[in-house]
Structure formats: C-alpha cells, structure tokens
C-alpha cells in the first residue's frame, strides 16, 4: 500500500470505489519555481479481471495525492474478486495495485 489507497465496496447493485494515489502532482509552474521536472499522473485505469470499470486520462491539475471516487454496476462481481488499479505518470513510472472488493455476498 505504498503508492495507493484503495477502497472498493459493493452496495446493492452498485460498486463504490475510492482511490487515493500517493503522488506529488508537480505542475509545470511549480516545476519551474523549484527547478525540478514536472511530473503528474497521466493515465489511470481500474479493472476487475478483464473488465474495465474506470478509465481516465488526467492532467497536472488534479490535487496533490489525488482522490478519485467512482461508481460502477456491481453485476457479475463474485466473492474474492479484486479491483486492480493502475496508473502511469509523466516520468513513465507505472504502479499497479489490487484490493479485494468488500461487501460481496
């Protein structure tokens, strides 16, 4: 859990997820001031098995340690299934982490 916090829970017919990625999200402005390279998350996906439940292309203007909440239909989710989150940043770093989905009967 070093790079991401993942919460995924089924409630009725909805899968509710909350993700917090640990990332500084350095914008071009800040990078210029501090003399470092800009670096921010550019692409993010959430998958259960092969099924994509979340997908986003993002820019430098997400907050530091960005939080994302999303909902998807819970149909087809079995007990023991995991939500796999993946992100990629401007420097090319890629992180994948999975967490078991809670609340599945």
């Amino acid at each position: 859990m070093a790079n991401m916090k993942i919460k995924a829970k089924v409630k009725g017919d909805t899968l509710k997820c909350k993700i917090q990625a640990k990332h500084d999200m350095i914008t071009y402005n800040i990078a210029k001031k501090k003399g470092v390279d800009a670096n921010f998350i550019t692409y993010m996906t959430g998958k259960i098995g092969d099924r994509i439940v979340f997908e986003a292309s993002t820019s430098q203007f997400l907050s530091k340690n960005p939080i994302i909440k999303f909902e998807a239909p819970s149909a087809g989710i079995k007990k023991g299934d995991e939500l796999t989150m993946y992100w990629k940043d401007l420097s090319g770093k890629e992180v994948t982490e999975a967490k078991k989905i809670k609340g599945v009967k």
Partner: protein
C-alpha cells in the same frame, strides 16, 4: 500538420474503433487538447466543433473553496455517456481530466479533487452514447490559489 486536418483524422480514427473496445488514452490520442489555453479550444481539440445541450450533467462544488490545492468536484450525469471531460478556466491550461465511461455504467457518479490557481469556473462536457453532447458550467470562488506550490 494543419489543425483542421488533424482533427479530421482524429474523428476518422474514432469512427474505426469498435464501440465495445475500451482502454483509450486521451493524452496519446488528443495531445492538442491538453495544451489548449481556453476551455473552448480544449473542447474543440477534444470533440471537434460541437453544439452541446445545457442539460443532463451536474457538478457539485463548494461555493467558496478555502484551499485551491484540493477542490472536491462531484460529477454526475442523468444520461448514458461515452466519455466525460472536465475543464476549468483559471489555470494555464484548461483540461483537467477525460474519463472514458464503461458501456455498462448508465449514470455517472464520479468525484475527484482538483487544483485551481484563482477564482474561475468549471466546465463539464459529456459525449452521450446517443451522439449528443452535454455541457454544464459552474463558477466558484477560490480563496487561496493552488498552483503556486
């Protein structure tokens, strides 16, 4: 390459992709959209010259954001969407994020936190599965800018 031609190519490429196929990186696909300085330019670069209806979507933001470094933005839709794009007009570039909506999601309910340098407005544009475009705009005050670091 001329912009008009580039956009035309982009649209053709989208038309060729089967509807069910997901996994699309808008940054790689539409590099110009992320460099656009204004919301209108960014929308044009992303979706082309569209006429959007002012309905179907809603944004939930605080009226006054005390900290511009992390403004919670709630995004909801009453219509089924293919993609959803979030813009604002107070930072150097307009685009914040583009979400690809999975086909089985009927109504979008997303939330994220964004940075805004000063008081401005947030625009949400959705591409419906029916081919129509939807749009909503909301302004908010930012007490302390978030892009200064």
């Amino acid at each position: 390459m001329e912009r008009r031609k580039f956009l035309g190519l982009g649209l053709a490429a989208i038309a060729l992709v089967p509807a069910g196929l997901s996994a699309k990186d808008f940054r790689a696909d539409k590099p110009t959209a992320w460099k656009a300085k204004t919301v209108d330019d960014a929308i044009k670069a992303l979706y082309g010259d569209i006429k959007a209806e002012e309905s179907g979507l809603s944004i939930k933001v605080p009226k006054i954001a005390s900290n511009g470094g992390a403004i919670p933005v709630g995004m909801k839709s009453d219509v089924q969407l293919k993609s959803l794009a979030l813009f604002q007009d107070s930072n150097p570039e307009a685009a914040v994020a583009v979400f690809t909506i999975p086909a089985d999601v009927k109504k979008v309910n997303y939330m994220t936190k964004i940075k805004m340098a000063k008081t401005g407005s947030i625009t949400l544009v959705g591409e419906g599965t029916d081919g129509k475009f939807y749009k909503v705009n909301k302004s908010l005050q930012v007490a302390l800018g978030g892009c200064e670091g």
